[in-house]
Symmetry: D2
Subunit: 346 residues, 4 copies
């Protein structure tokens, strides 16, 4: 069985393991107060073109989303999100468990628009009974989205503009940021993210690390006392250096970009095969996740050799599935899958 069901089926990029070994006996301070975290912070600040941002390293995505959102909001405030947003669907109610409503809006291919945000803001503040309702205060987007799609720079600028006009925080979940940055369709850089968002994170878990997410906070309002929240939410790793070392390796000479680009190309092979076979897609993705719609019998045939994620039934005879690639995907495996997609009998 060859796994394409997610982008975390293997361990970490070998260079990360090597570095963990070579630094293993160094004695350092705990909780992220070590030279490796410091170095990793500097590297990321440089990529973001913002020397004044605060950088923190957390362990996983749900933890990161929860820590950021609950640190930013007051008890009566909520976070606007696409209905397909990870925080709305796949975090077991983690945001609500900290007391905040996820104000879900219908997404289009996983994205929400500046216009929708402005309308939601107005709907709240133009209502005289606003105090009876949850106050929208933050906008959550994912780049790329849970459906593999990308916000263009123009879209992000429009969202950022409305957020700043209305006093809403803009938070971008970048669990798969690398795959977005290196997509052939992408026109957004980390500098853009740092300029347009109040806080975002650069995912490691799904992009070559053992685990780890690098949070970039650019809005001063969100910086104060953030470490207390990391500790309280269980994200303060005793051996914080493990996170610093990994991001040091990922960003010291562009490894993060190279492995993301590689994965996007492997995904492209699969996408093109689907197109050749005349398959439709749940949504148009040019990142490492592909969401073809297939006859159920075709899926069954493929399932004997490949694993995938189920994305739901489309009609009586068709379903959408997801194939993911990563730094660890073997090109020959992607090509074998592509060939089977093009030719398999069912």
């Amino acid at each position: 069985m060859i796994r394409f069901n997610c982008d975390y089926s293997e361990g970490a990029h070998p260079l990360i393991l090597e570095r963990l070994s070579s630094t293993n006996f160094e004695q350092t301070a705990g909780y992220g107060d070590d030279p490796h975290c410091q170095k990793a912070r500097e590297l990321i600040l440089k990529e973001c073109g913002n020397p004044d941002a605060d950088i923190y390293f957390l362990v996983g995505g749900t933890q990161t989303n929860t820590t950021i959102i609950s640190a930013a909001l007051r008890p009566w405030q909520g976070v606007l999100s696409a209905d397909t947003g990870h925080i709305n669907v796949h975090e077991s109610g983690a945001i609500e468990a900290t007391g905040h409503k996820v104000l879900a809006m219908p997404g289009t291919d996983g994205k929400i628009s500046a216009k929708q945000i402005e309308e939601a803001y107005k709907a709240h503040y133009e209502d005289e009974t606003q105090m009876h309702m949850v106050q929208p205060k933050m906008v959550y987007i994912s780049q790329p989205t849970e459906l593999g799609t990308l916000y263009s720079k123009a879209e992000l600028e429009a969202i950022s503009k409305v957020c700043r006009e209305k006093g809403l925080y803009l938070f971008a979940d970048g669990a798969r940021m690398g795959y977005g940055l290196m997509s052939e369709k992408n026109d957004v850089t980390l500098k853009d993210m740092a300029e347009l968002c109040d806080v975002f994170y650069i995912g490691g878990t799904k992009v070559g690390a053992l685990f780890g997410e690098a949070v970039v906070i650019t809005n001063n309002e969100l910086k104060k006392d953030f470490p207390y929240m990391i500790k309280q939410k269980g994200g303060l790793l005793a051996k914080g250096r493990l996170l610093g070392i990994q991001f040091e390796v990922l960003f010291e000479d562009g490894l993060y970009y190279r492995i993301s680009s590689y994965a996007d190309k492997a995904a492209d092979i699969i996408r093109q095969a689907c197109e050749k076979r005349g398959l439709g897609f749940l949504c148009p993705s040019y990142t490492n996740q592909q969401f073809p719609i297939m006859p159920d019998t075709m899926i069954k045939a493929l399932s004997e050799k490949y694993s995938y994620a189920e994305m739901g039934r489309i009609d009586e005879n068709h379903s959408a599935i997801r194939f993911c690639t990563s730094w660890a995907t073997k090109l020959e495996d992607a090509e074998a899958l592509a060939k089977d997609i093009e030719t398999i009998k069912y």
Copy 2:
């Protein structure tokens, strides 16, 4: 500077890193549903002598305490703890953040007694206005305690007995469990823990692992739906295998015990030096943490070569400090510190 300030100054035991490397390219399911987690579970169940316990692997101590306690309690219930308990002092209010009061009781050398628990229970239930107060439902102890001391088997049995009579859950925080198990003064086994507690955990972060805590749930009431809580509290590692692999290495041939015993012996060297110098202790510890009371000028002299943790002022001229050892402590470093403690001029 030689670090004795904590037991997580280095990476992980080299055998763990080796195993992470040798298994790196295996493709496995995520979220702990992989063969390594399965194997580690079997090994731990065997050590605990309870094939029906549920085993889960979480990332760190605060997360583990929070997940267990908030999964067990209803909103109006609280957890009894020594005032020095980690959950009462050093978790940034993580337990309260999930809605539960830590019902702190005066500890003796970090421990509470069966009698105290029974009295707290009665004080609540014999009060007609009980519904105006937080209902005690769980007892939190640490083995060994935050002050390096140990509950004897007889003490644990008495606590367990009162808990079962009164319907209180007994939860033991074993962040440094190994150092307790291997202490020369210890008479408690993992089998005892599994028999006497409703839930406890075996710490990895402070005992040789990169990170990780193995939760053992023996009470059926606490088993239901626990994975939802792990996910919600941010503890469900995508690459869950990382935890399985580490505990597999630690328990497949006794590594966990060997490195704990080694650290206890290194701590013994330091303790004996303190005794020879005629120093008192904050409390009597025979585990990997030592808490000597020293003249401030002596501490200052030692601080030029060694790092330690501050434990508070004792009187105008004396303070308590903490030295920790671990698998990574070099015997020559422990001996150098011991010699300096015995002879340093101040």
Copy 3:
């Protein structure tokens, strides 16, 4: 200005004020442990035909919903609700503030169906990754709904059946229960409610009392320790007798039903006027709330004499509004409004 904007514009039914005065100097125990609360409980138990139910009196609707829902659910569980449900829209995130997601489903005239509930249940439990999502455990309905509509007995039976089969708690918000019970279209009794629901409440605030909601808990699982939750959520009135006295007056000789019936009839006058004028409705209501759709210019004309609640824009020139009646509505006012609706020029 004559107020039809809500059903709580005046104080309380005069009989309630009289009783408060005549009992004012009685000395009683606090917190609901007094003879009036005891009597009121007995009266309500009799109406419900269930001597084993637990009855508690709380102050207001949001408080009651929050207390019941958070007492019933474990941290990873959520409550299914129509998207128009009061808990989803008009409680400032009170449910989320206790840590629980409101799992909103599209309502039809404010109602959800047994089929929707079953599908939501299956969608969760048939998904292998269920632990990544909020577990549905309770169903919240309002009788009558926020849009004045009613569940029929057959609908309630179907919902109750699926809830019991699937282990979901059924909770009915009866903030306006009286108006539903006395509606000409109603076929549901309090006995039915007690038989089909696990918990529900009979509203006083909007049905003649100064304030107060009577909670009826029939499911034993939900009874345990409920008073702790009332206290914690701020609902335990020191002078609990105030609630007992009011419900005693409302239920000792049918006042609750009489004033509800009166209000429904007053609303009928308004509804028939709208129909005569050829107006449409947001939804078909035969209770004390009416939701006509009117030309904006007509609304403007009426607004010079009457107050109403805004229910949102329908199209460029039309909006929906709400008129409410209550025990305090003067028939001559309802008739004046009706006449104006039929004849006003705009």
Copy 4:
């Protein structure tokens, strides 16, 4: 049985009931947006000498404490309180249920000192590992305290000074404020409270009202969006006028002060009787609560005619009990109790 066990055994001062009746048919807006609330606000602002304060009316004490504290604090912050503070003991964990630790400090006769507050602040901020601990941000005091004692103006000034220097909010629970203001030992006015506190409340439930607490917010930081919190925490009474009417009656011509003074004098009769009999006290109270220490046999003898609250065992043969007076206490009852205290055989 004559009740002296609490100060809420009867209904409300008759003038309040009269006003509720005479205003009963007025139509007003809901949720506190009515002329009576407006008038009551003006009266209280005048008493406080601060026209810029925000005034809100809530239903009960636990609700008020919870709403204020959780509105003021960020998730990692806690509230300093005497260990006898109502929020620490008698609110079923309501504060913790909103996520905040009550940082209890040993009280002296129910009071804490400026020095204790300063030390707690320093202990936190001078610790390098502060982010591992709950950050103190608010100070909770009660005036009078739960033990009937009073902060002097000098004590309050000292506390206020340290709070302002350190950026801590000062919050005074005034559930029994009237009894404190009118005590013969008091030198603090409402103007002082408004000047020295960031937020406090003037209790109605225990001082003559049916229910109700008037919150006075003087610190602008605490004003923003407070109504959202009132609604979310279940404190926004639909018929908000009920609160306005009561405080209007209490403050339009000094009724609040007169009934408080009366109750204090009735308590004085009881206190003097205890002194004459040579009894000791749990603490020295010159307000409406008296806490004599009595032989258990004497308590038993008194219990045949009077009810009281138990305050705990003092030694093998003695216990402390509480007698409360209020506007409704009959002088002849207080005198009868006094006489029995002086002469009863046991």
